[in-house]
Symmetry: C2
Subunit: 333 residues, 2 copies
Amino acid sequence: MTNLKFARRLIVCSTLAMLALCLAARGDDPLPSWNEGKAKQAIVDFVAGTTTQDSPEFVPPSERIAVFDNDGTLWSEKPLYFQLAFAMDRVKTLSPQHPEWKEKQPFKAVLKDDLKAVLAAGKHGLLEILIAGHSGMTTDEFENIVSEWIHTARHPTTKRLYTEMVFQPMLELLAYFRANGFKTYIVSGGGIEFMRPWSERVYGIPPEQVIGSSIKVQFELRDGKPVLVRLPEIDFIDDKEGKPVGIHKFIGRRPIAAFGNSDGDMQMLQWTSAGTGARLGLIVHHTDADREWAYDRDSSVGRLDKALDEATKNRWTVVDMRKDWQRVFPSDK
Amino acid sequence: MTNLKFARRLIVCSTLAMLALCLAARGDDPLPSWNEGKAKQAIVDFVAGTTTQDSPEFVPPSERIAVFDNDGTLWSEKPLYFQLAFAMDRVKTLSPQHPEWKEKQPFKAVLKDDLKAVLAAGKHGLLEILIAGHSGMTTDEFENIVSEWIHTARHPTTKRLYTEMVFQPMLELLAYFRANGFKTYIVSGGGIEFMRPWSERVYGIPPEQVIGSSIKVQFELRDGKPVLVRLPEIDFIDDKEGKPVGIHKFIGRRPIAAFGNSDGDMQMLQWTSAGTGARLGLIVHHTDADREWAYDRDSSVGRLDKALDEATKNRWTVVDMRKDWQRVFPSDK
């Protein structure tokens, strides 16, 4: 064979090989941890409809915005919101400088690891715990504190790192949406600065696409060096009616897909669904006491009651975790 | 010539042609409206340094964030901030429903087109004008009002559309940064909802990358349909100390390049410059009374005084509009 013929054959072969690879990739299931069923079908149909150029539901890439709640939608939230575990650890770390906390609720309950009493302290008490450990330092200092905690702290019952308790099917869904030109955002009631230090590594969502609750920060020059200082004052609560407000504030356009799991996400799903054209509203229903947790209408953490009724009315997709998810966590087989 | 030989020659030729095209494109000046000089060199050096893989100043794409003030940096701001012209037009439109405005300042001054008296009304008066025309409707309604105005209203002296008064050199700079993997953001004292309806069309900056001042909005169900209603209450002032706060809130990481033109941008440039690694701070100095306007330390609109002193201290690049810009507006020859 002449060199030329060999080169020609090489080109033909490698082209065929690439074609085969492409076909294989197209045939691959982008959602392998989702069992076949209504929920998976609704997701795949929505993505196909909005991204196929000559489909009546086609949406240009710049408007492909998908928003995801975090607690209970992308990772677990039991027995307590993971950020509350962080805040309780902060109170313990700071307690030597606050001897008065030994006798003062809700701090006394935190120091005794009395979760029941902590939760019984109500919204005001929880806020006190959060603010005590979340303010008074610069934003750079807080970022370091969060990063260290998320790399080392372990869940009280599973003993895993919290970032190992993210949902494998949702990681696949995030990647699938991005591969189809969607911008994926977190819209969480949790603290924006609690999520940003690790959202890119864990979810592939960069800090500028994380929306959450926040406390006020203030610009200061310290020894001529500019810093942002965290103040003990709430700036914004990104929950319930706050979610569409946060979406409007940070993104400035209406999403076409929204994913949540509780009543705190209801208004976000309503706002998303009310736009014209194809819309996807999806609720993760925690129905799996064996692999994760089972709860809905009566749960104090992640209550799903009104939003479950609204789901039927609005034809949102309700994911039955037990039936629809082949795996829950990345470490599941 | 055999078919095979012809095909081979065709491949060689087309490869050479593509190479030539690539080289030509590389040789093309990405900033043709910038005269050669220190300012242009600083910009080109910064981009080369931060985007060349083996440069000591290399910055990964995800951290290439560049922030731009709007009024006076991307478009003109004389004789008055363009949003104030919009707000005054709104007052005129709404005046039939407010007969009391005929005798009440600052509305009386607006209705008489007495700009001097309008500006003399001070911050509180300006706020009254803004809120009167900017609140009370849904966010969708406000977006329509802005869109219609920006497509039809004309500048009082040049008689051009306001979007024709953007700076050609800055449009080139925005495109140049984006072509080099930067995410470009607006960080303006102006209203976030005043800029978002046209920022993508005019600057190539999508709504979710526009940060600005805002009024509060509230989620409501009207006849079962969710809407966001604009309230007559300030939410956030994105100016001076507010700019680094806004950057932190919306982006969550420190930019590596910041562009401004007035004292209102000083803290944003300080915050940007104080990070480690390569940084670019740039100030547009309005020195061209013939083609645009000339003003700095004594101007009430766009005052550039402290930031000009800080520029020397921090080695920010100061653009001399008259000398550094070959063209000012897109329509200039």
